[in-house]
């Protein structure tokens, strides 16, 4: 008896918890309302099943509890009932799956006009790259990575020269423009995760992964790593600023291109050499 009441109470408590819980989806800041909708549809269908099945369980426990003189009914199977239940389950499953697959189709279909932004992960920080004026990211490889070339850009690739490199963990994006996020890792698996965008994808060393989204709300959001990447996993943070086109353009124009980096490094190297020449004879004494 107590257990029947407990099951019914747990169902009520779960519904109340759902209604009163302060923990729910963050306000969405991207175009992925279709993912939220698929989640809500899944939630309602599952909630109906959860409430229905558990109340049936509670009712059965109450109605058919053992008592003197009571005997169980003998019914090995009832194929009509079983078929009907299978059919209804199939319908419920299809009703959940359809919006899920439709949203996924959208998710894997990157719009042609999407701007490209690359995010690179390494233990335990983020950096970013924009393709610059030519709209094409230059090729990059782990074998090119050095202290002077942390992004591993191919120095011989002309497409890379105008790439804009952002080494701070703060990323800026213009509002309302579809973005193809191209993801690269230098070391281990990471995952580019902004809860408000809904979208996420792993960064995998050795290959380039991607997802796309359109930021729809101005604001600053946390970037987290959502794939365990070692002891600093929880501290691998960044932030993304979604802003109007003008502010974005201003920010972007303040960043350095790979070509500028090369020139700067070159100049620095020359300076170092020059000062070494000056210091050399004295220091050598």
């Amino acid at each position: 008896m107590a257990v029947a009441a407990a099951i019914a109470l747990l169902v009520v408590a779960s519904i109340l918890f759902h209604l009163l819980s302060p923990w729910w989806m963050t306000p969405i800041a991207s175009n992925w309302g279709s993912i939220d909708n698929a989640l809500i549809i899944t939630l309602y269908i599952c909630a109906i099943a959860f409430v229905g099945l558990n109340l049936f369980l509670a009712l059965a426990l109450m109605k058919y509890r053992a008592r003197p003189g009571h005997k169980a009914h003998y019914e090995p199977e009832n194929s009509r009932l079983e078929k009907r239940l299978t059919l209804w389950t199939g319908i419920g499953i299809a009703a959940m799956l359809a919006p899920g697959l439709i949203a996924w189709h959208e998710y894997v279909t990157v719009p042609e006009d999407a701007a490209v932004i690359e995010a690179t992960g390494q233990q335990w920080q983020w950096s970013y790259r924009f393709p610059g004026a030519d709209g094409v990211l230059g090729s990059a490889a782990v074998s090119h990575i050095s202290a002077d070339n942390p992004f591993g850009l191919n120095p011989a690739d002309p497409f890379g020269r105008d790439d804009i490199l952002v080494e701070t963990s703060e990323l800026h994006m213009p509002i309302g423009k579809p973005v193809k996020m191209v993801l690269r890792s230098k070391d281990v698996l990471h995952d580019f995760y902004v809860p408000q965008f809904r979208a996420k994808m792993d960064l995998v060393p050795g290959i380039v992964t991607y997802f796309w989204m359109t930021p729809t709300r101005i604001g600053t959001y946390d970037i987290l790593c959502a794939e365990l990447c070692g002891v600093g996993h929880h501290m691998m943070r960044g932030s993304v600023v979604v802003e109007d086109q003008q502010s974005f353009d201003d920010w972007l124009s303040g960043q350095m291109t790979y070509g500028q980096y090369l020139a700067q490094n070159h100049a620095a190297a020359r300076t170092r050499l020059a000062s070494a020449d000056v210091a050399g004879p004295n220091g050598g004494q």
């Binding site: 747990l10 199977e77 079983e82 389950t89 995998v204």
Partner: protein, 583 residues
Amino acid sequence: MATVTLADDLKPLHHPRTWIGKYVWSQDHKVIAIQYATTAIAVGLLALVLSGLMRLQLAYPDTFDFIQPDNYLQYVTIHGMIMVIYLLTALLLGGFGNYLIPLMIGARDMVFPFVNMLSYWVYLLAVMVLVASFFVPGGPTGSGWTLYPPQTILEGTPGADLGIIMMLVSLAIFVVAFTMGGLNYVTTVLQARTKGMTLMRMPCSVWGIFVASIMGLLAFPALFVACIMMALDRIAGTSFFMPELVSMGNRTGYQGGSPILFQHLFWFFGHPEVYIVALPAFGIVSDLVAVHARKNIFGYRMMVWAIVIIGALSFFVWAHHMYVSGMNPYFGFFFATSTLIIAVPTAIKVYNWLLTLWKGNIHLRVPMLFAIGFLFTFIHGGLSGLFLGNVSVDVPLSDTFFVIGHFHMVMGVSPILVIFGAIYHWYPKITGRMWNDTVAKLHFWITFIGVYAIFLPMHYLGILGVPRRYYALGETGFIPPSAHLANEMITIAALTVAAAQLLFFWNMIWSLFRGTRADPNPWGATTLEWQTPDTPPAHGNWGPKLPVVYRWAYDYSVPGHARDFIPQNAPPASAPPPKGEGA
């Protein structure tokens, strides 16, 4: 009546002569079962302690100096690994499989008793290597129980030096142990059934364990090769899973490997593994529900086929763990569809359990209470799995606490509730004594309500976006202070549930010595294990003659019978008494 069984009852049994032969190097499936079960539960206690430490850290960050990020990740990893493999798989198959298969199908023992014994000792070795990894420099691996490379074997991950090698070796040894056990379970079910025990007369417990064993034999090799390949990457410098990469700012010699290949191998094992744990639990709970509701399991044939279909389909859904792994995203369509299809036979099982209760004569004894607890948590966990299987819905939820809530509900809590129910159910047969009812009920209530209080809120934290495997949440804009409060509440519930397990252990140990003598068949069950001449069953199980089976396992409350159950070995009233069978 046609029977297809070949019960070899002519082979003489070699009874052990010494205490060591009887209880240590024993080839008796019942002793091996208890060895498996106690070892699994003992190492499970370690996993329980680790989960308590994790919860302390999550609720009270910056409080415990001895829990640093590397310690936390080690707790996460070893907790998960123990629970999934060394506890659940070993206890359900090595423990219950060993105890129940021969008794339920009317055999004297497993068909390969020596290999069966070896299986246990090799399993014990695997456990010892795992536990030993706590004592090597650097400690055990902290790469998460999924052991995803490259980080698993690189600096920056705890235990990347020696711990991971111990882990991989231990897993490989475990697979060897499981293979010896699994071959035994499958062969015994196929070859050693007594006269009259057709496949479609077997209790659901045996069906669940049987199909899970076949699955294990097909799935564990994937884990085995993945372990060997990773060990080679780590020790011999091969690059199966390692592309060209930088580690802590330095270039490594690896090149050309694929981290995603490991994920495919791991989940080709890992997803069937979920059902290797679930199917025995499904089978056992079917029997608990039928016995204590005094009613046949509803739709037995459908239940058996659902087990078989789930077992087969579970080999075609693995990549639903990898929707955002960077694999070809078009795989998502296939795996979302196959994953949601598997929900249909699973749902049928739930309906049939509920319909077994409907119009039953439900005795709310402790094993039944745990079975009901299973139904509730399994419905919850099964449904939350639909979110994660439904590809696009998985995108925001993957790697959040929603995943933690889901899989703990569905493959942590629910099978463990079944295990408790099963231990209470068969304890009188195993020990010949009854447990204390009041303490057992208290144990049930705290555990059942407590686990729901732990794992329900986690789903909501996950929908909010709280990431998993985080040592500390720190200052994160979207995580409100109330979420930290939730973490404290969850920890209090978790520590309460953990403490309540003392009731269980006290009850089991106290009852072993002081419990009242149990009736040989206290629940009025039909299946063969309750019809043994001795309680606990002696070596060889059946005395001079094997039982002969005349009916299915679920003749409860048959109209026209005075008693509300007819044992499987009770001859039909009209038939002449059997002559000279079995011998």
